[in-house]
């Protein structure tokens, strides 16, 4: 599943870089064709420029990218936080990228890149697949007057990190492209420090020499934010993967920023805890990257945002100075809470080098229920039932509710067709996956069974199934987690992560279906419902 915060709707200006345009769509093709549809009043030739404010009408929903222009401070706009994430994906038949109204003439061949990307975690490029064009060539971005890397710089880096200064074009080719293969930079240097001290030395040197730097973690982001725009030096946290300490009473984990999330998960699970966040990309993403992007994920509903669970950070600023805030205190009101600035700053204010995070006790009992909902009557057929089920869940399951995901019938068809995953329940317009996690098997099963019995008898559900065994639980989650994969096998995908008020959440999908007509093969909506942490 993709990143889940509204920040993913934009790419803010990075450390020492100019503003970057993006509508946060992934893949990053500026939807020139889509724009005329979405913005009927703007001139068709105008490419989306920084500061564009995209309006979707006639629904009363606004997709807002943060307005910023060179020199402006970022104004992150968030639509009502207490809402849900709707992932809207539009799959077009390959090659059917719509042209601007001005005519197809200006269309560059690089925009017709068809793909499915390979399975998450692996980054092998299918042989013969056309490469995405360089960001510098594809978008009207300007390289600000930073220095260029010279032999002296390389020698200096080699002195600081012997053997870990990489200029091999093959290795660089991989780190210059994001996971979705939607944007490509042209960096020529990759640095792999092992310690905070090394990061500090690197940044001090770059600051003195006016060299641009692009920090990179697992490179699993879906908004093109993890790779350079031009030839910035890539600073990778790949070798900063030591776990520094774990306190097994408080559950406080202190580790370097390059630790892979799954690895951390396993480490704390052996000690009876779990990480407070979980993403589809856990096999590859780094905790430093999660913090820098304020990642949400599957456990967001239950454990809340990283803003609540991160206890302290160690950050190296652009001039090389180290801000050491690795407190492990659960409550610390001394001074300003500077770590909140860095969480979600996406590498623009400093490089996160170590994280102190509060882990939570591992739930003894995890149950997953997969439900098919009754078709509704008015408005969006069936979606009201999703909201009703959600309200019902919250009321009945209360504190043991740990995830609530929904997907529409088209999603189910697609995972069935492309991935061979069979639907465990009778066909319905909407499906809901409910997960409970608690400390008592008996208590949770009782609550869940009571909830299901009531939901069934009140006519909310057409069908449902429950799973407690790992294998079944994983199989049910796969139906939800692999939707992106299925879509990418269907055609070229435009993916939008949107936070919207509950009531308007799904209106977008039928509206877009109507607007796009046969140009879009499928328009699907899926996502999570929930309130911001308690």
């Amino acid at each position: 599943m993709g990143p889940t915060s509204p920040q993913d709707l934009y790419l803010p200006p990075r450390t020492a870089l100019g503003p970057l345009l993006s509508l946060g769509t992934s893949p990053g093709t500026p939807p020139l064709g889509l724009l005329p549809l979405l913005v009927p009043t703007s001139p068709p030739e105008a490419p989306p420029c920084p500061g564009s404010h995209v309006r979707v009408s006639p629904c009363a929903v606004e997709l807002q990218s943060p307005l910023f222009a060179p020199g402006d401070a970022m104004l992150p706009w968030r639509v009502s936080r207490w809402a849900m994430q709707l992932s809207l994906q539009v799959a077009c038949p390959p090659g059917a990228l719509v042209a601007g109204k001005s005519g197809a003439g200006a269309r560059s061949p690089s925009m017709l890149v068809p793909w499915p990307p390979s399975l998450r975690g692996s980054s092998s490029l299918p042989t013969g697949a056309p490469e995405v064009a360089l960001t510098a060539e594809r978008y009207p971005v300007q390289r600000l007057p930073f220095s260029e890397v010279t032999e002296e710089d390389l020698a200096a880096f080699e002195h600081m990190l012997p053997g870990r200064v990489i200029t091999d074009p093959e290795v660089l080719a991989a780190v210059n492209v994001d996971w979705l293969r939607s944007v490509r930079g042209c960096s020529r240097v990759l640095l792999r420090p092992r310690t905070t001290e090394e990061v500090s030395r690197i940044l001090r040197h770059c600051h003195q020499r006016n060299l641009a730097v692009s920090p990179q973690g697992g490179n699993t982001g879906m908004v093109g934010g993890s790779v350079p725009v031009f030839d910035e030096i890539i600073l990778s946290t790949a070798l900063m993967n030591r776990i520094l300490s774990f306190h097994d009473v408080s559950g406080t984990l202190v580790c370097q920023a390059g630790c892979v999330l799954e690895q951390l998960g396993r480490h704390v699970e052996e000690r009876g805890f779990i990480m407070p966040l979980d993403l589809g990309a856990k096999g590859s993403c780094h905790i430093g990257g999660n913090v820098a992007t304020n990642a949400g994920g599957l456990r967001f509903l239950r454990y809340g945002s990283l803003r609540g669970t991160v206890l302290g950070l160690e950050v190296v600023l652009a001039d090389g100075s180290v801000l050491s805030g690795l407190s492990s205190l659960r409550k610390d009101n001394t001074g300003y809470d500077l770590k909140q600035l860095f969480i979600g700053s996406e590498g623009t204010l400093g490089v996160v080098t170590a994280v102190s995070i509060a882990c939570v006790p591992r739930p003894q009992a995890v149950n997953v229920a997969f439900l098919g909902l009754m078709p509704g009557h008015a408005g969006c057929p069936g979606f009201q039932e999703v909201l009703q089920t959600f309200r019902f869940c919250k009321a009945q399951l209360g504190e043991i509710l740990s995830a609530f995901e929904f997907l529409d019938a088209e999603c189910m068809q697609l995972v069935g067709r492309h991935l061979g995953l069979s639907c465990p329940v009778r066909g319905s317009p909407f499906y809901v996956l409910v997960e409970t996690a608690g400390s008592s098997v008996a208590h949770d099963s009782e609550k869940l069974t009571a909830f299901l019995e009531q939901a069934l008898s009140s006519g909310l559900l057409t069908d449902g199934t429950v799973a407690t065994e790992q294998r079944r639980v994983q199989a049910l989650w796969a139906l939800r987690e692999r939707i992106t994969e299925a879509l990418s096998r269907d055609g070229y995908v435009y993916k939008y992560d949107l936070s919207l008020p509950l009531e308007q959440l799904y209106h977008l999908v039928p509206d877009l279906r109507a607007r796009l007509g046969p140009r879009a093969r499928h328009v699907v909506g899926y996502g999570h419902l929930g309130l911001d942490s308690a």
Binding site: V425, V466, T468, R471
Partner: protein, 255 residues
């Protein structure tokens, strides 16, 4: 003809996704607080039985399990998948550890006769002990024909056509009923138990009996001496040239 009755044996095992830990005293593996579920091959057996019932070839499906009280959960799962009723052969936890294929086979043989079933379905093996003996022993004790590693099952009147997966490919047998069949992976894909069935399963009957009631002696002539972790894999050694390789192999006495 829907006169056939089927007995399906299911085993409660440690969930296959769980990391197994050996007890420090080496008498077995840790089972306390560990997630258990129905043996995957047993699920396939239940699914097959239920499908036969849906095709109206079998009239009644009885699910049976031997072990401590928690086995009833496993039987309930079978009932939720479509079995009609369950039999729990209660064996206290301490003794249950020593239950082997022969003991279970004796129980199943007695039950098959008592319940007058025509077909006994089991998974080919359990994922905890990998014995792959219970089905065969049951058939032996009953003196019934057996079709093991079944990947396809067809009822033809009073005979059973069983396609078996063997090393060389597929072998097709025709067995006269009553018979014993053990299921292999490719026989079917077990269904998810849906809510209405889970609710119905709560009302289905599970009879609790003891091995003694069947006149079966559960003593085993086998005792477990020790259970140990497999040896840790040691790191390999890299060599630069073929000469080095030969020298190294000679050094460790392999050539």
């Amino acid at each position: 003809m829907a006169e056939l009755r089927a007995l399906v044996a299911v085993k409660r095992v440690i969930d296959f996704a769980v990391k197994i830990r050996v007890k420090p005293d080496k008498t077995g593996v840790v089972t306390d607080g560990v997630k258990h579920s129905m043996n995957p091959f047993c699920e396939i057996a239940v699914e097959e039985a239920v499908r036969l019932k849906e095709k109206k070839l079998v009239k009644e499906v009885v699910a049976v399990s031997c072990g401590p009280t928690q086995c009833q959960e496993t039987i309930r799962t079978a009932l939720a998948m479509g079995a009609d009723r369950g039999i729990h052969v209660e064996v206290p936890a301490a003794e249950a550890d020593r239950l082997g294929p022969l003991q279970v086979a004796r129980v199943l043989a007695k039950l098959a006769e008592k319940e007058k079933v025509d077909l006994v379905l089991l998974g080919k093996q359990a994922i905890d002990d990998d014995c792959n003996q219970t089905g065969q022993m049951t058939a032996g004790l009953l003196d019934w024909p057996q079709g093991t590693f079944a990947s396809q099952l067809t009822v033809e009147g009073d005979k059973l056509k069983v396609e078996r997966e063997i090393d060389g490919g597929l072998e097709t047998l025709r067995l006269k009923l009553p018979a014993v069949v053990t299921t292999d992976l490719r026989l079917n894909e077990p269904r998810y138990a849906t809510l209405p069935n889970i609710m119905k399963a709560k009302k289905k009957k599970i009879e609790v009996i003891k091995a003694g009631d069947l006149g079966v002696d559960l003593t085993s002539k086998i005792s477990v001496v020790s259970v140990e972790d497999p040896p840790q894999r040691t790191a390999g050694v890299k060599v630069e040239t073929t000469e080095d390789l030969v020298a190294k192999l000679k050094e460790i006495g392999r050539i």
